[in-house]
């Protein structure tokens, strides 16, 4: 990954892309990137020129730049791409083991005959999840973030080149299982969907407030297990609303099928919104 927005950038692999960066994480870092940008400046390695002895050349420079500015530019470009192609992009975020991939495969099985779907899978290692999705007959592309803990907008931009989702389709981006880092990185998606299983703590929305603040929809998964657990659903929803008064909440079981219909209604309704301005795509399921 040549962008700055990905951590562990030397290890990011996108299926179908030849990113063989073998530089070690240290001294070659900025040279490598400068090479990428087509610059050949050499900063600060030689002696400072025209340096009068005893006279400091220090000065102050006001910058006022957002640290995530670069990622946000890529995200804006992705958002523009989605808008011009009438694609609904959903960024699925959760901790590992919440049932994100199970919900996704079930959703694909149930919706693929009526909707055009595509998937970007983010994991640190293995292409297992993308293979699981491709087995359902839907286009999927794996991004391995290596040591990285989240997907960034630049990775998504490259993945779109390879994946080429159809106009009017629904693109599910399954982020790396992590309730912390993906919160800060806008991918250009229409909505972040946070999946929380009832086998986790009901106080996760306030333990990881950034994520639940960034999400527009919270899905409580594995509700079929509620009779066996002490999970207080109302309390969990109350916590989520504290960090995000506007968050919508759905309760379902991806494996038993309970409540899935409400999730599908949400996907359909949200897709309708992304098709505004694309009347010709409305029937192109």
């Amino acid at each position: 990954m040549c962008s700055v927005c990905g951590c562990g950038e030397g290890e990011t692999r996108i299926e179908g892309h030849e990113y063989e960066h073998t530089h070690d994480h240290g001294h070659d870092h900025h040279h490598h990137r400068h090479h990428h940008d087509g610059h050949t400046h050499d900063y600060g390695l030689g002696p400072a020129h025209a340096h009068a002895p005893g006279l400091s050349q220090s000065r102050m420079v006001r910058i006022e730049k957002d640290i995530l500015g670069k990622n946000n530019e890529y995200a804006k470009a992705n958002r523009g791409y989605f808008a011009s192609h009438g694609i609904l992009a959903l960024n699925l975020v959760s901790s590992p083991g919440s049932g994100k991939t199970s919900l996704l495969t079930r959703t694909i099985d149930d919706l693929k005959s009526d909707l055009s779907l595509a998937v970007i899978e983010g994991d640190q290692q293995t292409a297992n999840d993308a293979e699981r999705i491709r087995a359902t007959g839907v286009k999927a592309l794996q991004i391995n973030t290596g040591k990285g803990c989240h997907l960034d907008a630049h990775m998504i931009g490259h993945a779109l080149d390879g994946l080429a989702p159809e106009d009017g389709s629904v693109l599910f981006i399954e982020n790396v299982g992590n309730l912390v880092c993906p919160a800060a990185f806008d991918l250009g998606e229409a909505h972040k969907v946070a999946i929380l299983s009832v086998t986790e703590g009901e106080d996760k929305p306030i333990k990881y407030p950034d994520m639940f603040h960034a999400a527009d929809l919270m899905i409580l998964n594995k509700v079929d297990l509620l009779p066996y657990l002490d999970f207080d659903v109302d309390k969990c929803i109350d916590y989520a609303r504290r960090v995000n008064p506007g968050i919508k909440v759905l309760q379902l079981s991806a494996t038993r099928g309970e409540g899935l219909e409400t999730w599908y209604q949400w996907v359909w309704a949200t897709r309708q919104v992304s098709l505004i301005g694309h009347p010709s795509l409305a029937d192109s399921a």
């Binding site: 700055v4 900025h30 990137r33 610059h39 730049k65 407030p209 950034d210």
Partner: protein, 113 residues
């Protein structure tokens, strides 16, 4: 450890501005980090030294300016102080708060030569 990526973002901005602002070395970086942003200052310091190593900002000092959190309480119709995303309004106890400042992550200024 997204602080590592954030530091790489900082380095990129330093490198880009070196061309336009005409400096060769960065000695101090002032960052404004809001208390409601998803940044842990200690993790940021740790990552900063690692990421800047070998760059134009090698050995640079990192100064983190913490920005207080403020939110607009819809019930009280006024600005209140908050320290966490899940804080209630200190006056009415409600959670209908819209954060107005405190989530910034910005490079404020640099000492360069």
């Amino acid at each position: 450890m997204h602080e590592m990526s954030l530091c790489e973002g900082v380095l990129k901005i330093l490198e880009q501005n070196a061309c336009t602002q005409g400096y060769r070395r960065v000695k101090t970086v002032w960052l404004e980090i809001g208390v409601l942003s998803c940044v842990e200052p200690e993790a940021m310091r740790f990552s900063f030294d690692l990421v800047m190593d070998g760059s134009l900002a090698e050995g640079a000092t990192l100064e983190i300016v913490r920005m207080p959190g403020e939110a607009w309480c819809m019930q009280c119709a006024r600005t209140v102080k908050v320290n966490q995303r899940y804080d209630a309004c200190p006056d009415c106890g409600g959670y209908q708060l819209q954060v107005t400042t405190g989530d910034e992550m910005r490079i404020k200024e640099l000492e360069v030569e």
